[in-house]
């Protein structure tokens, strides 16, 4: 068994803590998400650990509930972008020909417009709901997964061992699942971490612009928006989500690095004892 590096351990602990808080929000949040329990912008106290927000709701509770929304939306969008992007990417790489051409050009086109701009264009006519947000983010982000999955699979598909298997007469299914997938997994897993972070930043940005999660639901970007007026009075409530987003992003990064490192060392089998 390999020793867990300190950085990976810290990353793993923090990531787990955030996900646990998101899952257990109803149990651990001291107050309800929209419950007004005090004056606006009360300082931190024994009762309100992080103080209260612009209209007197407990900031810690808002943060926990908001984390639940942010992490759920980001995770769902990541799952969608991975499902869509990697399946289509592998398919394009193995099939080649016109299928590959059509899919690749479509992705080029989608990527020729910045994701945020595309999202804003669509959200100008579509009602902003959680499923819509997940769908829009997932589809826009699947382009990046597609490119990676296709590139990795193309690299593998030209290897002599894949040629040997084709010469044996094996079916497409065996080639994709037994020869290509096991070797494509580690770069994809590491990429999943990065895409999740990107999704967290994306949904937070949209909510901050008022075009993401709608009140009274809480999410981290929205908490910044609600409390931004306080900044000029020296009230740091809007900065609390900053800390949450940054630490989550860095922790997931650390875990992804470790996964990549570990899986590449496993590539040769059991060298990493």
């Amino acid at each position: 068994m390999m020793r867990l590096p300190v950085s990976a351990l810290i990353g793993l602990c923090l990531t787990t803590a955030y996900f646990a808080a998101a899952l257990l929000a109803p149990l651990i949040a001291p107050f309800g998400v929209a419950e007004i329990v005090g004056q606006s912008w009360e300082p931190a106290s024994a009762q309100f650990w992080l103080g209260t927000d612009s209209i007197g709701r407990d900031l810690l509770s808002r943060m926990i509930w908001g984390g639940r929304t942010t992490i759920f939306v980001a995770a769902a969008a990541t799952a969608l972008s991975f499902g869509l992007g990697s399946v289509l990417g592998f398919f394009a790489a193995v099939r080649g020909g016109w299928v590959d051409q059509v899919l690749s050009r479509l992705v080029d086109l989608l990527m020729s417009i910045p994701s945020l701009i595309s999202a804003l264009v669509v959200l100008s006519v579509v009602p902003v709901t959680i499923p819509v947000l997940i769908l829009v983010m997932g589809i826009l982000d699947s382009t990046r997964v597609f490119r990676l999955a296709r590139a990795v699979a193309v690299d593998i598909a030209v290897m002599d061992y894949v040629e040997a298997v084709r010469l044996r007469g094996e079916k497409q299914g065996w080639i994709i699942f037994r020869e290509i997938l096991p070797n494509a997994l580690s770069p994809l897993v590491a990429e999943m971490g990065l895409r999740f972070i990107f999704a967290v930043l994306f949904i937070s940005t949209l909510s901050f612009l008022g075009l993401g999660v709608q009140p009274p639901m809480a999410d981290w970007g929205g908490i910044v928006k609600e409390n931004k007026e306080g900044i000029v009075y020296g009230i740091p409530a809007a900065l609390v989500p900053a800390l949450a987003i940054a630490t989550l992003a860095i922790s997931v990064n650390l875990v992804a690095d470790w996964v990549l490192d570990r899986t590449t060392s496993l590539k040769g089998g059991r060298n990493a004892r």
Binding site: L116, I117, V121, V125, F208, L211, G234, A249
Partner: protein, 320 residues
């Protein structure tokens, strides 16, 4: 007539860029048509009266088929007519032009600082590879990459505008303002934009230079006993220019997106704020116009990056 391969490839890229821009305009138009129901209904909401719906449909030309609407929109765009805003009935083009000017001023100021700084930091990182200056730069840039722009914005407001009051927290600009006053007004958003793009730009620059420094021809130069300065100036730099310019262009394209959010944070009257305001108002013609302009800038910068790579490639410049 045979064209020089560089000219031929560059012409190909430009044609491809125009094609991409055309396709992007289709995509932006389609993006506002994807709603299964009635756009007018979606814009006005459930409580709208039949009459106001009919008026809006007329205004949007919804009674025409989509294809006709697209081409009349495209024809207008090509003549510099971006249509009429739904929210105030004014033509979009003049309002957008002024805001585009403001945005380019802000993004340009950020680029003027970020580009040399990123290249300098990249060079320092390579010079002190894996020693403390490199590690310090890496750690700091990782932190700035991990924080979204709007949060960077409030962090700098909190510390630089509220706690110490160096710079104004709102970037108000108006006609007739002096150049110096404008610069003072955009101080904070520029800092945020620089921080937002610096990390990526510096890391990619570092990787590009490192790639050149580890090449066999730089080893040859070292084995010739050349001075470190001569190695960098004569052998590394000519080969590093293209990848570095590429990196810079890609990151300037990234800056275009960053500017949207930063303008909202600092209430700066640029394209980004204009777009976000009108998305909230569901003013479809304005959103389409802004989307097209952003896409054009983005595609244009990527095109410049491509063409620089072609121009710098000795194999293409001096064919066999």
């Amino acid at each position: 007539m045979t064209l020089h391969p560089v000219a031929r490839l560059a012409a190909q890229r430009i044609a491809l860029g125009l094609l991409l821009l055309f396709a992007a305009s289709v995509l932006i138009f389609l993006g506002t048509q994807i709603l299964p129901g009635d756009v007018a209904q979606a814009i006005l909401g459930r409580s709208a009266t039949q009459q106001s719906l009919a008026t809006l449909r007329e205004q949007l030309g919804l009674n025409e088929p989509a294809l006709t609407r697209y081409f009349s929109w495209l024809a207008g765009v090509l003549h510099g007519d971006l249509g009429i805003a739904l929210s105030n009935g004014q033509p979009i083009a003049p309002a957008l032009a002024k805001r585009l000017g403001n945005t380019l001023f802000l993004a340009g100021a950020a680029a003027v600082i970020a580009v040399p700084l990123a290249i300098l930091l990249g060079l320092i990182s390579v010079r002190y590879l894996n020693r403390w200056p490199d590690r310090l730069i890496s750690a700091v840039t990782l932190a700035t990459i991990s924080v979204p722009e709007f949060l960077l914005g409030y962090i700098v407001i909190f510390f630089l505008a509220v706690q110490y009051q160096f710079l104004p927290s709102l970037s108000t600009v108006y006609d007739g303002m002096s150049f110096g006053a404008r610069l003072h007004a955009i101080g904070l958003p520029v800092i945020v934009l620089v921080l937002a793009v610096l990390g990526h730009m510096m890391r990619m620059t570092r990787a590009a230079i490192l790639n050149v420094m580890q090449s066999a021809y730089v080893e040859t130069a070292e084995l010739k006993g050349l001075r470190p300065f001569a190695i960098i100036a004569k052998h590394a730099l000519p080969n590093a220019v293209a990848p570095v310019v590429n990196v810079v262009m890609l990151n300037l394209a990234y800056l275009v997106v960053g500017v949207v959010v930063v303008e909202v944070v600092f209430v700066y009257p640029g394209m980004g704020q204009y777009l976000v305001d009108h998305v909230a108002k569901r003013d479809v013609p304005v959103v389409q116009a802004c989307g097209l302009v952003f896409a054009a800038v983005y595609i244009g910068l990527n095109l410049v990056a491509d063409i620089v790579s072609i121009l710098a490639n000795p194999r293409l410049r001096h064919p066999r």
